[in-house]
Symmetry: C2
Subunit: 112 residues, 2 copies
DNA sequence: TTGACATGCAACTATATGGTTGCATAATTG
DNA sequence: CAATTATGCAACCATATAGTTGCATGTCAA
Protein backbone atom coordinates (compact mmCIF):
# COMPACT_ATOMS: atom_id res chain seq x y z
CA UNK A 1 0.00 0.00 0.00
CA UNK A 2 2.78 2.39 0.93
CA UNK A 3 5.01 1.19 -1.92
CA UNK A 4 2.77 2.91 -4.41
CA UNK A 5 4.38 6.24 -3.67
CA UNK A 6 7.80 4.69 -3.79
CA UNK A 7 7.01 3.02 -7.09
CA UNK A 8 5.84 6.27 -8.60
CA UNK A 9 8.87 8.18 -7.34
CA UNK A 10 11.13 7.00 -10.16
CA UNK A 11 10.99 8.60 -13.59
CA UNK A 12 11.88 5.37 -15.41
CA UNK A 13 8.99 3.59 -13.75
CA UNK A 14 6.62 6.41 -14.64
CA UNK A 15 7.76 6.09 -18.24
CA UNK A 16 7.12 2.37 -18.14
CA UNK A 17 3.63 3.05 -16.87
CA UNK A 18 3.20 5.51 -19.72
CA UNK A 19 4.15 2.79 -22.17
CA UNK A 20 1.77 0.29 -20.64
CA UNK A 21 -0.89 2.95 -20.68
CA UNK A 22 -0.36 3.39 -24.40
CA UNK A 23 -0.33 -0.32 -25.06
CA UNK A 24 -1.08 -3.14 -22.68
CA UNK A 25 0.17 -6.69 -22.91
CA UNK A 26 3.79 -5.91 -23.66
CA UNK A 27 6.55 -8.33 -22.78
CA UNK A 28 9.78 -7.40 -21.02
CA UNK A 29 11.59 -7.33 -24.33
CA UNK A 30 8.90 -5.14 -25.83
CA UNK A 31 9.33 -2.67 -23.03
CA UNK A 32 13.11 -2.71 -23.40
CA UNK A 33 12.76 -1.48 -26.97
CA UNK A 34 14.37 1.94 -27.13
CA UNK A 35 14.61 2.15 -23.36
CA UNK A 36 17.99 3.55 -22.29
CA UNK A 37 18.71 0.78 -19.86
CA UNK A 38 19.70 -2.85 -19.70
CA UNK A 39 17.02 -5.54 -19.78
CA UNK A 40 17.71 -6.35 -16.14
CA UNK A 41 17.23 -2.75 -15.20
CA UNK A 42 13.81 -2.72 -16.80
CA UNK A 43 12.98 -6.04 -15.17
CA UNK A 44 13.81 -4.62 -11.76
CA UNK A 45 11.55 -1.65 -12.30
CA UNK A 46 8.75 -3.88 -13.50
CA UNK A 47 9.20 -5.99 -10.40
CA UNK A 48 8.78 -2.94 -8.20
CA UNK A 49 5.69 -1.91 -10.14
CA UNK A 50 4.32 -5.42 -9.73
CA UNK A 51 4.89 -5.37 -5.98
CA UNK A 52 3.10 -2.04 -5.84
CA UNK A 53 0.30 -3.71 -7.72
CA UNK A 54 0.46 -1.09 -10.43
CA UNK A 55 1.29 -3.70 -13.05
CA UNK A 56 -0.35 -7.07 -13.37
CA UNK A 57 1.14 -9.85 -15.45
CA UNK A 58 -0.10 -12.66 -17.57
CA UNK A 59 2.12 -15.52 -18.65
CA UNK A 60 1.82 -16.64 -22.22
CA UNK A 61 4.29 -19.42 -22.90
CA UNK A 62 7.72 -18.00 -22.22
CA UNK A 63 6.49 -14.46 -22.54
CA UNK A 64 5.37 -12.45 -19.54
CA UNK A 65 2.82 -9.91 -20.64
CA UNK A 66 2.43 -6.74 -18.59
CA UNK A 67 -0.72 -4.76 -18.04
CA UNK A 68 -1.35 -1.51 -16.28
CA UNK A 69 -3.45 -1.86 -13.15
CA UNK A 70 -4.97 1.53 -12.41
CA UNK A 71 -6.77 0.49 -9.24
CA UNK A 72 -4.06 1.56 -6.74
CA UNK A 73 -4.00 4.95 -8.36
CA UNK A 74 -7.60 5.23 -7.37
CA UNK A 75 -6.54 4.53 -3.79
CA UNK A 76 -4.16 7.46 -3.93
CA UNK A 77 -6.93 9.63 -5.18
CA UNK A 78 -9.25 8.65 -2.43
CA UNK A 79 -6.69 8.69 0.36
CA UNK A 80 -4.75 11.76 -0.62
CA UNK A 81 -6.44 13.87 -3.19
CA UNK A 82 -9.79 13.91 -1.48
CA UNK A 83 -8.00 14.91 1.68
CA UNK A 84 -6.15 17.63 -0.11
CA UNK A 85 -9.22 18.87 -1.84
CA UNK A 86 -10.53 19.49 1.64
CA UNK A 87 -7.19 20.95 2.61
CA UNK A 88 -7.40 23.41 -0.23
CA UNK A 89 -10.42 24.91 1.45
CA UNK A 90 -8.74 24.71 4.85
CA UNK A 91 -5.70 26.50 3.43
CA UNK A 92 -7.86 29.29 2.13
CA UNK A 93 -9.28 29.61 5.63
CA UNK A 94 -5.78 29.74 7.06
CA UNK A 95 -4.73 32.52 4.73
CA UNK A 96 -7.92 34.34 5.45
CA UNK A 97 -7.13 34.13 9.16
CA UNK A 98 -3.65 35.41 8.51
CA UNK A 99 -4.94 38.39 6.64
CA UNK A 100 -7.46 39.11 9.33
CA UNK A 101 -4.69 38.92 11.92
CA UNK A 102 -2.73 41.52 9.94
CA UNK A 103 -0.03 39.00 9.12
CA UNK A 104 1.46 40.89 6.24
CA UNK A 105 4.84 39.39 5.30
CA UNK A 106 7.03 42.11 6.76
CA UNK A 107 9.88 40.01 8.19
CA UNK A 108 10.87 37.84 5.29
CA UNK A 109 14.24 39.48 4.73
CA UNK A 110 15.81 36.46 6.39
CA UNK A 111 15.46 34.49 3.21
CA UNK A 112 17.37 37.04 1.14
CA UNK B 1 7.22 19.37 -11.10
CA UNK B 2 8.82 15.95 -11.00
CA UNK B 3 9.90 16.39 -7.37
CA UNK B 4 6.33 16.01 -6.22
CA UNK B 5 6.55 12.24 -6.59
CA UNK B 6 9.89 12.18 -4.88
CA UNK B 7 8.58 14.33 -2.06
CA UNK B 8 5.63 12.03 -1.53
CA UNK B 9 7.77 8.91 -1.64
CA UNK B 10 8.93 9.23 1.96
CA UNK B 11 6.72 8.16 4.84
CA UNK B 12 8.03 10.83 7.20
CA UNK B 13 7.15 13.53 4.71
CA UNK B 14 3.69 12.08 4.23
CA UNK B 15 3.23 12.18 8.01
CA UNK B 16 4.33 15.79 8.07
CA UNK B 17 1.77 16.56 5.40
CA UNK B 18 -0.82 14.78 7.52
CA UNK B 19 0.07 17.00 10.45
CA UNK B 20 -0.14 20.14 8.37
CA UNK B 21 -3.41 18.90 7.02
CA UNK B 22 -4.75 18.59 10.54
CA UNK B 23 -3.45 21.97 11.59
CA UNK B 24 -1.83 24.63 9.44
CA UNK B 25 0.57 27.32 10.57
CA UNK B 26 2.83 25.08 12.65
CA UNK B 27 6.44 26.02 13.28
CA UNK B 28 9.38 23.67 12.91
CA UNK B 29 9.43 23.08 16.65
CA UNK B 30 5.71 22.41 16.65
CA UNK B 31 6.18 19.77 13.99
CA UNK B 32 9.10 18.22 15.87
CA UNK B 33 6.82 17.53 18.82
CA UNK B 34 6.58 13.79 19.20
CA UNK B 35 8.27 13.19 15.91
CA UNK B 36 10.85 10.39 16.16
CA UNK B 37 13.61 12.37 14.53
CA UNK B 38 15.99 15.20 15.23
CA UNK B 39 14.95 18.77 14.52
CA UNK B 40 17.36 18.92 11.61
CA UNK B 41 15.85 15.83 10.13
CA UNK B 42 12.41 17.38 10.17
CA UNK B 43 13.83 20.60 8.74
CA UNK B 44 15.33 18.69 5.83
CA UNK B 45 12.04 17.02 5.05
CA UNK B 46 10.21 20.33 5.24
CA UNK B 47 12.77 21.79 2.85
CA UNK B 48 12.06 19.05 0.35
CA UNK B 49 8.32 19.60 0.72
CA UNK B 50 8.86 23.30 0.19
CA UNK B 51 10.88 22.72 -2.97
CA UNK B 52 8.11 20.48 -4.22
CA UNK B 53 5.76 23.34 -3.48
CA UNK B 54 3.65 21.12 -1.26
CA UNK B 55 4.32 23.34 1.75
CA UNK B 56 4.30 27.11 1.79
CA UNK B 57 5.81 29.13 4.60
CA UNK B 58 5.13 32.38 6.32
CA UNK B 59 7.64 34.07 8.58
CA UNK B 60 6.37 35.48 11.80
CA UNK B 61 9.21 36.96 13.80
CA UNK B 62 11.66 34.18 14.45
CA UNK B 63 9.07 31.52 13.75
CA UNK B 64 8.58 29.97 10.34
CA UNK B 65 5.01 28.86 10.00
CA UNK B 66 4.21 26.02 7.60
CA UNK B 67 1.09 25.55 5.57
CA UNK B 68 -0.06 22.76 3.34
CA UNK B 69 -0.29 23.70 -0.31
CA UNK B 70 -2.63 21.25 -2.01
CA UNK B 71 -2.27 22.70 -5.50
CA UNK B 72 0.50 20.38 -6.78
CA UNK B 73 -1.59 17.41 -5.70
CA UNK B 74 -4.15 18.62 -8.15
CA UNK B 75 -1.48 18.49 -10.84
CA UNK B 76 -0.91 14.83 -10.06
CA UNK B 77 -4.58 14.18 -10.32
CA UNK B 78 -4.84 15.82 -13.67
CA UNK B 79 -1.67 14.36 -15.12
CA UNK B 80 -1.90 10.85 -13.72
CA UNK B 81 -5.22 9.99 -12.29
CA UNK B 82 -7.21 11.24 -15.22
CA UNK B 83 -4.95 9.20 -17.42
CA UNK B 84 -5.40 6.13 -15.28
CA UNK B 85 -9.10 6.57 -15.06
CA UNK B 86 -9.02 6.17 -18.81
CA UNK B 87 -6.60 3.30 -18.42
CA UNK B 88 -9.00 1.51 -16.16
CA UNK B 89 -11.37 1.30 -19.07
CA UNK B 90 -8.58 0.37 -21.44
CA UNK B 91 -7.49 -2.39 -19.07
CA UNK B 92 -10.97 -3.79 -19.00
CA UNK B 93 -10.86 -3.85 -22.78
CA UNK B 94 -7.51 -5.65 -22.68
CA UNK B 95 -8.81 -8.31 -20.37
CA UNK B 96 -11.89 -8.65 -22.48
CA UNK B 97 -9.66 -9.19 -25.50
CA UNK B 98 -7.71 -11.81 -23.64
CA UNK B 99 -10.79 -13.69 -22.71
CA UNK B 100 -12.06 -13.52 -26.25
CA UNK B 101 -8.69 -14.79 -27.48
CA UNK B 102 -9.03 -17.77 -25.15
CA UNK B 103 -6.11 -16.59 -23.03
CA UNK B 104 -6.91 -18.69 -20.06
CA UNK B 105 -3.96 -18.79 -17.67
CA UNK B 106 -2.84 -22.31 -18.50
CA UNK B 107 0.95 -21.87 -18.42
CA UNK B 108 1.51 -20.13 -15.13
CA UNK B 109 3.20 -23.04 -13.42
CA UNK B 110 6.49 -21.20 -13.81
CA UNK B 111 5.69 -18.98 -10.89
CA UNK B 112 5.03 -21.86 -8.53
C1' DT C 1 23.36 44.12 25.94
C1' DT C 2 22.82 39.59 27.40
C1' DG C 3 20.64 35.37 27.26
C1' DA C 4 17.24 32.31 25.47
C1' DC C 5 14.89 30.69 21.60
C1' DA C 6 14.02 29.29 16.55
C1' DT C 7 15.97 28.28 12.53
C1' DG C 8 19.86 27.58 8.91
C1' DC C 9 24.18 25.65 7.17
C1' DA C 10 27.65 22.09 6.67
C1' DA C 11 30.04 17.86 7.35
C1' DC C 12 29.63 13.21 8.07
C1' DT C 13 27.71 8.18 8.14
C1' DA C 14 24.96 4.26 7.06
C1' DT C 15 21.91 2.39 4.19
C1' DA C 16 18.78 2.32 0.09
C1' DT C 17 18.51 2.56 -4.65
C1' DG C 18 19.36 2.49 -9.66
C1' DG C 19 22.05 0.46 -12.62
C1' DT C 20 25.39 -2.97 -14.36
C1' DT C 21 27.30 -7.82 -15.72
C1' DG C 22 27.24 -12.88 -15.65
C1' DC C 23 25.07 -17.02 -15.36
C1' DA C 24 20.88 -20.16 -14.69
C1' DT C 25 16.37 -21.79 -16.04
C1' DA C 26 12.24 -22.49 -18.78
C1' DA C 27 9.77 -22.56 -23.31
C1' DT C 28 9.57 -22.47 -28.33
C1' DT C 29 11.52 -23.87 -32.90
C1' DG C 30 13.88 -26.89 -36.16
C1' DC D 1 17.94 -33.27 -28.92
C1' DA D 2 20.10 -28.80 -29.95
C1' DA D 3 19.71 -23.94 -30.62
C1' DT D 4 17.33 -19.90 -29.75
C1' DT D 5 14.49 -16.95 -27.16
C1' DA D 6 12.53 -14.82 -22.79
C1' DT D 7 12.95 -14.30 -18.32
C1' DG D 8 14.92 -14.89 -13.36
C1' DC D 9 18.51 -14.73 -9.82
C1' DA D 10 22.64 -12.95 -7.59
C1' DA D 11 26.62 -10.32 -6.94
C1' DC D 12 28.49 -6.04 -7.47
C1' DC D 13 29.20 -0.76 -7.74
C1' DA D 14 28.28 4.16 -7.59
C1' DT D 15 25.48 7.44 -6.02
C1' DA D 16 21.44 9.29 -3.56
C1' DT D 17 19.13 9.69 0.53
C1' DA D 18 17.73 9.76 5.47
C1' DG D 19 19.43 10.65 9.43
C1' DT D 20 22.87 12.41 12.73
C1' DT D 21 25.88 16.10 15.25
C1' DG D 22 28.00 20.64 15.77
C1' DC D 23 28.07 25.32 15.13
C1' DA D 24 26.41 29.84 13.17
C1' DT D 25 22.85 33.35 12.57
C1' DG D 26 18.79 35.95 13.39
C1' DT D 27 14.92 37.42 16.78
C1' DC D 28 12.61 38.23 21.06
C1' DA D 29 12.45 39.45 26.15
C1' DA D 30 14.48 41.32 30.29
Amino acid sequence: MTDIFHALADESRRLLLDRLFEKGGQSLNDLCEGFPMSRQGVAKHLGILEKANLVSVHWQGRSKLHYLNPVPLGDIVHRWVGKFEDARIAALTDFKDQIEDNQKPKQEKRRA
